[in-house]
Amino acid sequence: MSDVAVQVDHVTKSFRMYHERNQSLKSAIMRGRTSVHEDFLALKDVSFDVPSGSTFGLIGSNGSGKSTLLKCLANIYYPNQGSITHHGRIAAMLEVGSGFHQELSGRENIFLNGSILGMSRKEVTRKFDEIVDFSGVEQFIDQPVKNYSSGMYVRLGFAIAINVDPDILIVDEVLAVGDAQFQEKCFRKFSDFKADGKTVILVSHSMGTVESMCDHAAWLDRGTLRVVGESKSTIAAYLQSLPADKQ
């Protein structure tokens, strides 16, 4: 295990903004092109290293490119330039419970979702009790998930994702789910993670969360990296840039 978990090297990501999006054959043939677009730079030449074993926070205002960067880290988007190198198994929790089948039971969905997230059947079987226990839906595990309350749904999704047991865990603003008791459970799980020497990368708008959980942070502003380093100083720099009434 090297001491850098993720290396982000001069990453640039642009999206096409379509002025006219013609996704039909007719327009493609009639005009000989499918669309008129211009490129929008969501990330501009971003580079930083995430030390392994750290909890790393990404902060910034809305539209600053945090989620794009997260998706690049999670191999959902691919950067146009630059590269991202991972050292270790990576798991991303960008949305909990994606891929649940409404008509199938909680039990069946654990196996399905586990395998979508990259766990083998054996692994899921081994961790099954832990997942059910963590989610707190024992009583309803054989019910179709469409009958779950939204809290149960999210808790089950979260329980599966967190049990993937990656070396690097990527978390988008999903901690704001469940009741206080469940959140407490999640935070404890994250600190266990950290104690095991694993890396967590998370996005949050709650500076309190970032400050208490993260030891490192990066501040993105409209696609450019402004500050990276110790979480305290990064947060301070970020807060200072905001207009006074928002602080």
């Binding site: 999206f15 996704q23 039909s24 054959l25 007719k26 493609a28 499918t34 998706k71 999670a74 191999n75 959902i76 988007y77 691919y78 991303a92 960008l94 949305e95 994606s98 891929g99 089948h101 008509e103 199938l104 069946e108 196996f111 399905l112 395998s115 979508i116 997230l117 990259g118 083998s120 059947r121 179709p144």
Partner: protein
């Protein structure tokens, strides 16, 4: 090669997604899996009434099986066709339907269209088993041919996968694909010897001779349709209980491999852009 390894590595996910579709499909129905038989049976009934009884289409009796039942003869061609049509119509929509998953989770995307092959194949195997039992009751001696029938089924599944992979990508960029496809499939079906025997085309073709003075006959063009060869294969194995021509096997194998190679190539080139394009 590396790509194939990746696909192979996600076989467990493929299995799980397939079983999600199979199990989720007939949940909360009284007849469950029996519903998958309803559609082919209804088609069989309609076509037998219209073409067997009204139009009096008389296919040659099975040689050497001696079978002479229009409904069974029809099903030998109809079941492979409905499987193929199912795969490419559900397969082409598979990426768009799972857009949410693609945008949130990183996994080998190729399992999505392939899982619609899997779930259609599951139903098809069920239908074929019923057909083989019916043929045995009617007096066909189909048992020794089962291994070859399975090989033919695999070939068709490979061919359908290749076409499905291509169309699933095309549907991401051109949503017209799925609508165009449903019309195209109707034409395509009548361009296959499903409800009429191949001999009918051969006779007509001989009568007409070469088209516009060229030595190319109607039959030559007709045989460009890969499904003609697949259906011939199935009919000879199941209905006639006869070893099909080696050339037919080779043609089917070539089509299957070519479709899969092109399908995987197209898919692999576009896979990375899917999350953005959707």
């Amino acid at each position: 090669m590396k790509y194939l390894q990746e696909v192979w590595g996600s076989r467990e996910l493929l299995f799980n997604l397939t079983s999600r579709e199979v199990r989720g499909k007939y949940k909360r129905t009284i007849f469950g899996q029996l519903w998958s038989l309803a559609n082919p049976l209804a088609l069989m009934l309609v076509y037998t009434l219209v073409f067997g009884l009204l139009f009096r289409i008389k296919p040659l009796a099975g040689d050497p099986s001696g079978l002479d039942v229009f409904a069974l003869w029809l099903l030998c061609g109809l079941l492979p066709w409905t499987f193929f049509a199912n795969v490419i119509s559900t397969g082409s929509g598979s990426l768009v339907e799972n857009a949410n998953l693609i945008q949130k989770v990183s996994f080998s995307r190729v399992v999505l269209p392939l899982s619609s092959v899997g779930s259609s194949a599951y139903n098809w195997a069920f239908e074929m088993a019923v057909l083989l039992i019916a043929i045995s009751i009617a007096g066909g001696f189909v048992l020794p041919w089962i291994p070859l029938i399975i090989v033919a089924m695999l070939l068709l599944a490979v061919f359908a996968s290749g076409v499905g992979l291509m169309l699933s990508i095309s549907n991401v960029y051109f949503r017209d694909t799925q609508y165009l496809l449903s019309i195209l499939l109707q034409f395509w079906m009548y361009l296959c010897p499903i409800i009429y025997p191949l001999t009918l085309v051969a006779t007509q073709s001989k009568k007409t001779g070469g088209i516009a003075g060229t030595p190319i006959t109607v039959m030559n063009i007709y045989e460009l349709n890969p499904m003609v060869h697949f259906i011939t294969l199935f009919r000879q194995l199941i209905y006639d209980n006869r070893w099909p021509d080696g050339v037919e096997w080779i043609i089917c194998l070539c089509w299957a491999l070519a479709a899969l190679a092109v399908g995987l190539f197209v898919f692999q080139r576009n896979e990375r852009n899917l999350a953005e394009a959707l």
